[in-house]
Amino acid sequence: MNSLKALTDEALALARGEVGAAEAEVARQLTICNGCRYCEGFCAVFPAMTRRLSFAPADVHYMANLCHNCGACLHACQYGPPHEFAINVPRAMAQVRGKTYAEYAWPAPLGRLYQHNGLTLSLALAAALTWFMALAARAPTGAANFYAIFPHNFLVSLFAPVFLFAVLALAMGVRRFWRDIGPVTTGAPLTPPAAAEATHDILRLKYLDGGHGEGCNNEDDAFTHSRRRAHHLTFYGFILCFAATSVATIYHYGFGWEAPYDLPSLPKLLGGAGGVMLCAGTLGLLRLKFRRHPLHGDPAQQAMDYGFMALLFLTGASGLLLWALRGAALMPAALSLHLGAVMALFVTLPYNKFAHGIFRSAALLRYAVEKRQPNRLGLGSD
């Protein structure tokens, strides 16, 4: 209950116009960074910083979501621990990002689900698995077809509202975020060139390249592309799986071609490739995170991060398992497992780590706008 009380206190403090501790810590650190600026070449955070003299909460939330937690500035920092200035920008930013997700969650009370996100995901998964297992147990034994176990319309009636709600909730959250960071990022409108650049930076994970193209840090001060590659596998694997489902939906309603599909059909190709990529990517991310330097990121968010990666892995792996077991006696169990994992993922989508991609994309879009506007600061020649 302590964390709930802390959250309430902080919400009240914010309502009174006071600044939260996490935001104040970022402002403290960036004031020191602004007097140094050695890290300007690494990413978007420091060029954004040099356009500011002070760091209000809206600036802090914007910059925290620009930060990709690559670690470059931490290892390069002359003021990092054990220096008394104790500068650890990746950690301070991660702590604010945790607050961004919780405070911009929609509807607001559900932001609390971020407080014990490991528990949130575990309960969602347990409930979804139980639900599908129980339903599968009532299906006729020996059924070889998915829809004999779970009728198609039943699945659609279950997943469509959940998916649409997740989209709505994320959209409402990021809309408020966008409105809050707009004024502090010049307020200028998004232009096509800015949107194109930000999209490019998002899809390529530009800010995990270290600014020199050699990647980011993981366990030490050496640069590696492995995090970027594992994230690409995860993200594009997820997109391919999603595309497989979308194509299958079109097949079903548009052409009356019913699942199951088999190779070389498009849904199978997309889903198979996506599933393998998702599994490989999440395993890679888990392995990298396990070895991650202890000063990177926010230790309090470990459960959220590991939980999300594990759930994504389970989604991909159970999908592949289902394919392997089609026609086998264990197929209904595999189907329940897969549907349970997918349901848990989508039910928690607006309240799990997935939100990082949404808020970071919004921040990068605003950054692409802001950098195109003249810098208002008339600092002297030094």
């Binding site: 007097g35 050695y38 070449g41 060029p47 040099t50 003299l53 390069a76 220096h83 600061l377 008339g378």
Partner: protein
Amino acid sequence: MTTDVLVIGGGNAALCAALMAREAGASVRVLEAAPREWRGGNSSHTRNLRCMHDAPQDVLVDAYPEEEFWQDLLKVTGGQTDEALARLVIRHSATCRPWMVSHGVRFQPSLSGALHTARTNAFFMGGGKALINAYYRSAERLGVQIDYNAQVDQIELAAGRFVAAWVNHKQPDGQLRRERIEARTCVLAAGGFESNREWLRQAWGQNERGEYPADQFLIRGTRFNQGTLLRFMMDQGADMIGDPTQAHMVAIDARAPLYDGGICTRIDCVSLGVVVNREARRFYDEGEDFWPKRYAIWGRLVAQQPGQVAYSIIDAKAVGRFMPPVFEGTQAQTLPELARKLGLDESVFMQTLNDYNAACQSGTFDHTVLDDCHTEGVIPAKTHWARPIDTAPFYAYAVRPGVTFTYLGLKTDANAAVHFNGRPSPNLFVAGEMMAGNVLGKGYTAGVGMTIGTAFGRIAGTSAARAAVASRGVNGEKA
């Protein structure tokens, strides 16, 4: 097996020496006095090196020819330099960067707020600590043995030849383990003595007010430059260069930490306002020249003031025109209130400010040029950017002298050899701050310390490897 090259020190010059020696085929051991998290000495606080170039090069614009570099060096040192060694360093700076890149150093364009250096200085991406990290990674990869917490306090010499070093290894439990390390050759690159407060106190002595000014100095860099080896070599009769009272000193925020405050503790608003001492009086022309050309004299100016403290005073007009200070300034709505908050004599302070304000001639203020805003009839004059301090809120920043490095060092030659009675040692070499005084006898220009460290580190490493390989032959050992 006897080490070929023993490098004492763990900053830029030391690692340049270690890497060059290793690349030349020598076995190399590096002794860094600091623990791993504090490794790299003052190099961790640097951000660029000054480079000669005859045409645009990646991050460097236009050209910065040898002659211009030399003239700049001549000007800042007031002639206290060795032209042959200086030109050696300058030419080296034109070609060293590809080698640096091959060891993982990356460059970035001139930082915002430092655009005046886009032509002369190549900035390290992530700064000096990123450079140091890259060199250590490369050294480890190449098989250089690195000892942290390894403090050398004594060297065995035989007729100007290096024989062995005595090192105290500080153990995790705080105990010291003493080791004698023999090596064929040795490179000394252990920095100046700026962190040794007792030595600074001796060097600066007592002033006419009975104060020991050095007691009030802050050290901008590492706490590990105790000058132990420098003192030892001096006592052994090595040829020295430079004046121990000479140090690069900047006026920095009085609230900066005692050590390792680095660049962010600077106060960049001097030329936008006035500076008064503890007696609330002005003492120097704040607008003499562009701040980047003047910041280095203010450390010494403040050191000469009572209590070694001064106050940079600005008004609201200056805010946003200089790099923001890390610590919040003292703020007040009126000048008398500001004086009270600073604990200064209010009437003297108001006299000083009123005299200054009345002396300001109207002109066209432009912080980017030497403008025509100046004072008339006030001593000292403010010759540029002089505008009345009259717009609330008013801000004050207390400043103290911050020592960057000392100039006292070992005399050397183009092979980086340590000298005894004018004769070069066959196997003892020196690099970095321990010899920078040969090139930079006084003064400073941005990035030249790293240029000297890189050039002489590489020369010392090459010389040491060559001497080690030659001595292997003499002793009939296998390579």
